[in-house]
């Protein structure tokens, strides 16, 4: 168990008989209360297919039912049911090559991180661009690991934007993802990158619309929406 931020925690699960997964897939967690009541939610797999354990990173939604349990109450040694891996659409394999553009908001970074971890573990040098949006610098998931991955100079570039204020000396952006930012991060639509966008619904809606306006083909844009509408 690793606390990633004040609101998010990574659980590394030992899963007997795990059949393996592709980066970007998710699984379902099912919790059963003593009275038999069950609640089930989906969580993206954060770990690379090459890793021995299956990692989830769960962001705590304060009035939520399942995430406060997984990101708060669970202790090492607890067991719960999972199902998966699930999903064949929002996936990237090193053999797919590049270019790829990954755009993540909040915990939407999780399945994209699985792709980057897989890319590194598989020794891929595919052209990959990651654009991460978080509220504050303290909400950024996997910060140190992303810095390490970016410093490998193997074809990965990482851009970060903060939407609720930037600390002194911040080198990234300080606004919501917009067309100019997507254009700058690239690759250009003419390079026909595979694009993966993941995060809260309003974030995904806005980013996907901007990508279409920039000329990216709708079929190249893969989306995964977490959580409710609104915002």
């Amino acid at each position: 168990m690793v606390d990633e931020t004040a609101h998010a925690r990574t659980l590394a699960l030992d899963v007997p008989g795990w059949p393996g997964h592709h980066a970007g897939q998710h699984l379902d967690v099912r919790l059963t209360a003593e009275d038999g009541y069950q609640a089930e939610r989906s969580y993206s797999i954060a770990s690379a297919p090459e890793d021995a354990r299956v990692a989830l990173t769960i962001e705590r939604i304060d009035d939520g039912e399942v995430s406060p349990y997984l990101a708060g109450d669970v202790v090492v040694g607890d067991a719960f049911e999972i199902r998966g891996p699930i999903g064949g659409h929002f996936t990237w394999r090193a053999s797919d090559g590049g270019p790829v553009l990954l755009v993540g908001g909040g915990s939407g970074l999780v399945p994209l991180m699985a792709m980057l971890r897989h890319r590194a573990r598989a020794g891929s040098r595919a052209d990959a661009r990651l654009l991460v949006s978080a509220r504050t610098v303290d909400d950024l998931l996997y910060r140190d690991e992303l810095e390490r991955l970016a410093s490998a100079m193997d074809g990965l570039s990482i851009t970060t934007t903060l939407t609720r204020g930037t600390p002194d000396g911040w080198k990234g952006h300080g606004r919501r993802v917009d067309a100019a930012m997507l254009g700058e991060v690239g690759p250009a639509a003419s390079a026909a990158p595979k694009v993966f966008v993941c995060g809260p619904t309003p974030f995904v809606e806005a980013v996907a619309d901007e990508l279409v306006a920039l000329g990216h083909g709708a079929a190249a844009i893969h989306t995964e929406r977490f959580g409710p509408t609104g915002g």
């Binding site: 349990y69 109450d73 067991a79 659409h89 619309d209 079929a219 844009i221 893969h222 989306t223 409710p228």
Partner: protein
């Protein structure tokens, strides 16, 4: 029953929700979440049309005006998404698929639904007939928003909601069952929420 999860109690059960209306594994939401595989298509209604084709005597196409000139039904149903949310008492207006199928002669037993963005989903024809399905363009008295499938989506409330194709553009009647987008990607071919038919093998 699996072993219980230490320390998990769940949310207090809502006294206002009739448990008989909530399929196993679902929780009731008040908002209206969105699930789609790509960007939201936005087709202007003057370029929108709806076609029934495939194993039929003659293909038929309706423009937006023609669809709206057909008899309209307003109906209130519970909807169940495979991602576990259920929304009770949703109110829609649209055209019953029965109305569209009235003049269509076919021996086909399956339907492949197609939609803008290349999305497809399949289901038995009998699951679309006899008052079980509509092409809906209005939600809660307002034009259906693009994010929820506007200008028009299929609504088949008795199956998981991925069968209710957003941005729907037509039905292709088929003799053989032809799995669609999510059905090829690991989701159950039929998708009955009451039997928790989420994935392959359920």
């Amino acid at each position: 029953m699996p072993p219980f999860t230490r320390g998990f109690h769940g949310r207090p059960r809502r006294p206002d929700v009739d448990p008989a209306r909530v399929p196993p594994g679902q929780y009731v939401v008040e908002d209206f979440p969105v699930l789609s595989a790509g960007p939201t298509p936005r087709t202007p209604i003057d370029q929108w049309s709806f076609t029934i084709q495939g194993a039929v005597d003659a293909a038929q196409t309706w423009t937006w005006e023609e669809l709206n000139a057909l008899p309209q039904e307003t109906f209130t149903v519970d909807i169940h998404c495979v991602t576990k949310w259920t929304k009770l008492g949703t109110a829609w207006t649209g055209v019953s698929v029965d109305t569209l199928l009235e003049g269509v002669g076919t021996e086909a037993e399956y339907v492949s639904v197609h939609a803008d963005g290349g999305y497809t989903t399949n289901l038995p024809l009998e699951d679309l007939s006899d008052g079980k399905a509509w092409i809906a363009h209005t939600f809660d008295g307002e034009p259906l928003e693009p994010a929820h499938g506007g200008p028009a989506r299929l609504v088949v409330p008795h199956l998981y909601f991925w069968k209710s194709a957003k941005w729907v553009r037509g039905l292709t009647l088929t003799v053989d069952d032809e799995p669609g987008f999510w059905e090829l990607a690991g989701y159950n071919n039929y998708g009955d929420p009451w039997r928790e038919q989420r994935y392959w093998g359920d």
